[in-house]
Symmetry: C2
Subunit: 319 residues, 2 copies
């Protein structure tokens, strides 16, 4: 190779040339009036409101580059942010991404990260409209997502009412199972290990829940019981969940749990990062949603089969 190897690192290629590669050849959605390349982007906000949320992923804490390909990291970063918008009953429309990485990072890896982001955002017609590229001791990816309620009222965590049905859509426990398998070097159950690297939120179901009369909603990022606890706290209600209604989730993980000597219920009830949606409905949940419990009188608490859950209390950032 005649080329200097350093030319293929972020430092060798240079910030502005890397950015040119990152934003080149991308087709922005119609909602984007001004895309990357100026001081800021301009995005349509059709109903006069913007829904906004942000998440930061730190290498070694939220992902490992010996487990995840850069594309996987990009897909995960977009998916988990998009799920926050879904959980409001809105549709994600645009993302901005700040990426910190060491100077010796390969420019190809940075491009692959961006490719994964565009691939995931493309699943619901959104684009990456802007970003920042900086030097950092390890990879740090900070994504902010904008969403469109299209005239709907936002579905908050605080709207659950006594007697509502609790329902879920999307997978539970897969990411936690996958993490356990990766962490313990169990080289099987590829689909579960894959789900830990790239979650699959039920895109479009947040909007469906809002249209279907959801009274409260959140996405399962910390763990089902922990996230239902957020709804219980915000709404001032109790929530009762039935394991019988979650048998299918448990059964999907039982082989892996047996092979790994773990408890599948811990994954189903305590595992986060699948970004399923959980909501409460005064009537019947929309098609595809699985009823798993009911809303009780206060005080705020979450009961499993009538009892306090004593397993994993969910993800904590500084634990």
């Amino acid at each position: 190779m005649a080329n200097d190897e350093s030319a293929e690192t972020l430092a060798g290629v240079g910030e502005f040339a890397v950015i040119d590669r990152l934003v080149g050849q991308r087709t922005q959605p119609a909602a984007v009036t001004v895309g990357p390349g100026d001081d800021a982007a301009v995005v349509a906000a059709g109903d006069g409101r913007t829904v906004v949320s942000t998440d930061m992923l730190v290498e070694g804490r939220h992902f490992r580059l010996d487990w995840s390909a850069p594309e996987d990291v990009g897909r995960k970063a977009i998916a988990q942010n998009a799920a926050d918008i879904e959980a409001m009953g809105a549709t994600p429309t645009a993302f901005v991404v700040a990426f910190g990485a060491p100077a010796e990072t390969s420019a190809d890896d940075a491009l692959a990260l961006a490719d994964g982001m565009w691939q995931e955002a493309g699943r619901f017609g959104a684009g990456i409209v802007g970003g920042d590229l900086v030097s950092a001791p390890q990879w740090v990816i900070s994504v902010t997502v904008l969403g469109d309620l299209a005239g709907r009222s936002p579905v908050l965590r605080s709207g659950a009412r006594v007697g509502d049905t609790v329902a879920v859509v999307g997978s539970l426990g897969r990411s936690a199972a996958g993490y356990f398998l990766w962490h313990n070097g169990i080289d099987a159950f590829d689909e579960l290990r894959r789900r830990h690297l790239v979650p699959e939120p039920p895109y479009g179901q947040g909007r469906a829940a809002a249209d279907g009369g959801a009274t409260s909603m959140t996405d399962v990022s910390d763990g089902l019981i922990a996230d239902l606890g957020h709804i219980a706290d915000a709404s001032g209600v109790g929530i009762s969940v039935s394991t019988a209604a979650l048998a299918a989730d448990h059964d999907a993980l039982s082989d892996a749990a047996a092979a790994a000597g773990a408890d599948a219920w811990g994954w189903v009830l305590g595992g986060g990062e699948d970004h399923a949606l959980v909501a409460t409905f005064s009537g019947a949940p929309p098609a595809g949603w699985r009823p798993i419990g009911t809303v009780l009188d206060g005080p705020p608490r979450v009961l499993v089969d009538g009892d306090t859950w004593r397993g994993n209390a969910g993800w904590q950032s500084f634990a």
Copy 2:
């Protein structure tokens, strides 16, 4: 003290309790329909568009905690993002902030960071509407800002036309001078050292420039010549700057330059991070803007007193 000292760290207080402290007692602006505490925030976008930009600041790279108080870091992070919105001719309305920090970080320092952010955002009536708090090996702060064009057309970098007047508002070279003083341990010129820690963008002047017919605009984040280069490239024009028109900026730094054995012109023409605004106008610039040059025929280039600038080419992330 009877309290366990560890209780005052992020790990001791815990993620959710820290977030409660961070968002408690804050008054959100009227544009914020849903504030912190749910999966996402909802912000008014009055004219059906949202302006959005993001910047990441990494400890040791963009700030040093032995130079800056946490409040200063918060103010800087908000100021530099707000300047990107000003540079489009818009007004910053809302911010989301992702904050990564070691578990042993003091909760008081995290609160002081947030206080600085609220203080700076309050200067133009904006609020922090959401965020993320995660564990990281060093402080990483990623800010995304939303802005409101209030019906105006965004002022892009690409609109400069031959014969336009180039004008600037806000300070030049102060942050670079301050950095040089800090870096060389020169314990004088407090105001310049202060300006390096907390820039003072000319809030409101981006909107004034748009209303005053600005044909192109950017903020001085990389350095005057480098940022004018971005306008020259995007507009396909040359830009000529006169040092005579910048004499006041030079003179304000000459004592510090003499004491430090440095070149004040390097700071004025090459120093970034003051977040002044520079724009082009087909007519007279608005009140408070200083004419500093003219727009020439292409090719894209920036001339200083008719010649190529051979000094500091501006900030590069991986240099």
